[in-house]
Symmetry: C2
């Protein structure tokens, strides 16, 4: 439509050089207050906006963070994936970064391309599993990267996740405190374990450990895949282990469906069965009041992920960071 205004237009209108305008833009203190003020006014008058491509070419920085979706996520995609992306890009914006979603199946290839073409300054790897090839790719490229997940090795990359070990231990202490001697861990599906997702592995391993330490009889139930009916699976688990007095649910779809599934079968929570569930506090509409729960906070995680990546971009040589956010156990609210 109307002609696009460039830095030259501003310079001319303000009666200064392009360099001066550029310095004003970057708040360089060498420019006098009056000049800066004058330039800023003409910028507003003309409605100037910096050309992103030109700046990127000149500075060799794109000011874009690449959000890399998991390779081969298969059919399973958390309902909170969208919220994650939303929040990440929100916090990125607050730090002056745009965010680009990199989602094709050939995750690593897409990463190489995005990096080689200077499209991004850094990567956020979503839902990283053990030995995730995206980590080695990031390493080879040598680009600032933060891993969202808890792989056994992060290959020298910064890491952010919920502290599943600590949360698991806390769940078990709660079980002991409430005098439960035999419990069920309703865990993630076998296909999640097969993918070696850290959140599933780390949580389960700590539960096993704590069960031993506390002398609690533990049964682990893990559905075969994520397509089966979680309500039926939950009841099946109860049927298999009739002496269990409590259950820990660490599984998204099961957490959502569980209150209904139990009430449908006339199981009173917490009288017939004491239940602890782990789910994001953003899971609102699902009614879980009679459960105790570990309330992970996606918002805090997103904020931490972005700040970690931004810090890494600013100082590539800073020591590696491993941030585990430890969310507390909430007791059920009676209603």
């Amino acid at each position: 439509m109307d002609k696009v205004v460039t830095i030259s237009d501003v310079a001319q209108a303000a009666g200064v050089s392009k360099a001066t305008v550029s310095y004003v833009l970057s708040n360089d203190k060498r420019i006098s207050k009056q000049t800066a003020e004058k330039v800023r006014r003409t910028i507003d008058d003309l409605g100037y906006t910096v050309n992103h491509a030109a700046r990127a070419l000149s500075t060799k920085k794109s000011n874009v963070l690449g959000i890399v979706s998991p390779t081969h996520h298969g059919v399973y995609l958390s309902s909170f994936f969208g919220l994650h992306i939303y929040l990440l890009s929100e916090y990125a914006a607050q730090s002056g970064y745009d965010s680009m979603f990199i989602g094709s199946d050939d995750g690593c290839d897409a990463m190489r391309k995005a990096s080689a073409s200077h499209k991004v300054d850094g990567f956020i790897l979503m839902d990283v599993c053990d030995n995730d090839s995206r980590m080695t790719t990031a390493n080879e490229i040598g680009i600032p990267t933060v891993v969202f997940g808890s792989p056994t090795s992060s290959f020298g990359l910064d890491t952010v996740d919920s502290d599943f070990r600590s949360e698991a231990a806390r769940c078990m202490q709660c079980m002991a405190a409430n005098n439960h001697k035999e419990i069920i861990l309703y865990s993630w599906s076998k296909s999640i374990f097969k993918k070696r997702m850290g959140f599933a592995l780390r949580f389960r391993d700590q539960i096993i450990q704590s069960a031993e330490d506390l002398g609690i009889v533990l049964h682990i139930y893990s559905p075969d895949n994520d397509e089966s009916d979680p309500a039926g699976e939950l009841l099946h688990a109860l049927h298999l282990y009739p002496h269990a007095t409590a259950m820990i649910i660490h599984n998204e779809s099961a957490s959502i469906i569980a209150p209904q599934a139990f009430s449908a079968s006339g199981i009173q929570i917490p009288d017939d069965l004491y239940v602890i569930s782990v789910f994001p506090k953003q899971m609102q509409w699902s009614v879980l009041a009679s459960f105790a729960f570990v309330q992970t906070d996606i918002d805090q995680l997103a904020q931490k992920i972005v700040s970690t990546l931004v810090a890494r971009i600013q100082d590539p040589d800073a020591p590696i960071t491993r941030s585990l956010l430890d969310f507390t156990l909430q007791q059920p609210v009676s209603r």
Copy 2:
């Protein structure tokens, strides 16, 4: 790490000019087969990738699509939002575009900035409601834009959505065919209607229309907001209208919870209550087999959205497009 290779390096190594390399890159037929072949080989050898910023500066095209999240989505965010973004960016990639997520609360401001700084070639507006300010903003900017949603007016913008009117009519014909004289429409929450979201309005209006045409007694139930317990709301609706023999559920969280909620109350589907639900075929883990349902396909929608936007970018003067995808009604599978 290792020095980044530019078009000059390729030109030198291949013994041609930069211009020639550039022409090879764009498959210009003026370059001889042999030269092109030679250049392509050195490109591979050197591992050259075009610098995105340089190209964008030169061509004034960013090759990026901006996905604009709804302004003030409030607490409600569909569980499929993430899948949507994922699929959109997948199809964008297939068409040679990257996708940038634009999500801040000041949606329109963010749009202006993204456009002014030449960061995007076009916009996809997610979940557009009637009189959505993003539409007028897109118009003022004069940038290729496709509206995902069914607003009353699209302000001259291309539009893609599921065909809610047609689907609603089909649901009602099914009701009539099954001889239901009195039914309940369990609809979206009042806050969704207050936002004037087209999918809720258009569907409801057609249901009302069809009810009149077919002589069916219709009760519309709409929860106050999206935080309330959908299971309780569903039962409340049944309680209010005890003579209804069927229900149409057009509400995401209610669709998910409904099978459990009904079974918990001993309501047999379809014997006690005939139910038609509308939900994406990507909603897998939730068990809905005893419902009839309109199976919208997020994948097809995403594909259509991207192809529409790409076409618009290529030909800004082509006639305006309005694509309504009409998904069929599936009868329940007995199991």
